[in-house]
């Protein structure tokens, strides 16, 4: 397997996915299974499950895993760099433009419209996560405890995640 082919395939996947990791899965499936035949459907599904369970962005995780399965550590590196590369270039371009024009009146007005939109998108993300994550009373109690820890006690999110994991082991 040519490592360069892996890089370009994942760069293409990274470039055409808008809206985060989950939007990447169908595109990845098409490229990996249908077009190139690098993995079977079953192998791919297992990889996605692991990518969701491990820390970090789902897209990066699945790229690393698929790359490793196909061409070892070199493949993992090529796929990971490939999937991140388009984001990196596009964001640098956007950041340069934004930092240059952010004080322009028209740009300020546009960002005043974007800010409430982001609030709503993050709230919507919380609600869509609820369906898979808040399935019983124990989960509800953990969620309430986390909100208390976050706002009343100002506990660091990393510590909250660790404590929630410990609580999960005790309660489930």
């Amino acid at each position: 397997m040519n490592v360069l082919t892996l890089f370009f395939t994942f760069a293409k996947i990274g470039l055409f996915t808008f809206g985060g990791g989950y939007a990447m899965i169908p595109l990845m499936q098409r490229e990996i299974i249908n077009v190139n035949g690098w993995l079977t459907m079953k192998e791919f599904v297992d990889i996605i499950a692991i990518a969701e369970m491990t820390p970090g962005p789902v897209a990066v995780n699945s790229a690393t895993y698929v790359g490793y399965k196909i061409a070892g550590i070199g493949g993992a590196a090529a796929a990971t760099i490939g999937v991140v590369f388009p984001s990196f270039v596009v964001i640098l371009a956007i950041a340069t433009l934004f930092l240059r024009f952010k004080d322009a009146p028209a740009v300020k007005a546009v960002t005043m419209g974007l800010r409430p939109a982001v609030t709503a998108l993050v709230a919507a993300a919380a609600i869509s996560l609820t369906k898979a994550a808040l399935v019983d009373l124990v989960g509800l109690i953990i969620a309430i405890l986390v909100l208390l820890g976050m706002f009343r006690l100002k506990i660091h999110p990393v510590l909250i995640i660790l404590l929630a994991g410990v609580l999960g082991v005790i309660l489930y």
């Binding site: 956007i94 800010r115 999960g168």
Partner: protein, 215 residues
């Protein structure tokens, strides 16, 4: 160099402790970048977050590149993106080698069952924190409510929604910034490059319409 190392380790920690993809990273990035390190203001962080979502790729990666670039230029962007992705890379490689053992672990399953509701609460908390800064008047509330309905009820893709709210923002808020003949406030000293000065004046005269100036 010290800043770059610090940036690498901050994003490494963020990458290592976020489960469940991009949005789960938002509360952590917000905490580290705005509250702890003060690398950027709340308002600017929200702007970066919204622009990060209009670009392709994972939201967490995009946001970290943006923050890194804003604070420390191109080297900062590299430090941030390597920091965010390296934990994933190492953990996945480790799992790829020991795949079968991990999969059957009941302890890992129980721990994840506990982490998932925590992530929901963290993301909901982030939405609240962002909203306190982002929604400051009725116009913002209307945009927020429309986006929420479009995404949650009508299942519209985020990209057209973000573009539409940018356009809507331009038409609803431009009078706050562009002082023209029909502007909301009289500008006594019209100066060529003085949008900033005239903004402050507007803010003084129309206190309820002073977005972006409560830093």
């Amino acid at each position: 160099m010290r800043l770059l190392l610090q940036m690498f380790f901050v994003f490494f920690r963020i990458g290592a402790f976020t489960f469940g993809g991009g949005y789960a990273m938002v509360p952590l990035i917000q905490r580290e970048v705005v509250d702890v390190r003060a690398w950027t203001t709340s308002e600017e962080f929200i702007d970066m977050l919204s622009l990060a979502q209009t670009a392709p790729g994972p939201i967490a990666v995009n946001t970290s590149v943006f923050v890194g670039y804003r604070k420390a230029g191109f080297p900062g962007a590299v430090a941030a993106v390597v920091g965010t992705t390296l934990p994933s890379f190492l953990v996945i490689l480790a799992i790829a080698v020991f795949f079968t053992q991990i999969r059957k672990s009941h302890i890992a399953e129980a721990a994840f069952a506990g982490v998932r509701p925590a992530v929901v609460a963290l993301v909901a908390g982030a939405a609240y924190k962002i909203g306190r800064v982002a929604i400051i008047d009725l116009r913002g509330l209307i945009i927020g409510a429309m986006v929420f309905l479009a995404v949650v009820v009508l299942d519209v893709h985020p990209i057209p929604v973000i573009l539409a709210s940018g356009v809507l923002g331009y038409f609803l808020f431009r009078r706050d910034y562009v002082v023209g003949p029909q502007g909301p406030a009289t500008c006594d000293q019209p100066s060529g490059l003085g949008e900033r000065a005239s903004d402050v004046q507007d803010a003084d005269q129309v206190p309820t319409f002073s977005p972006g100036h409560d830093y």
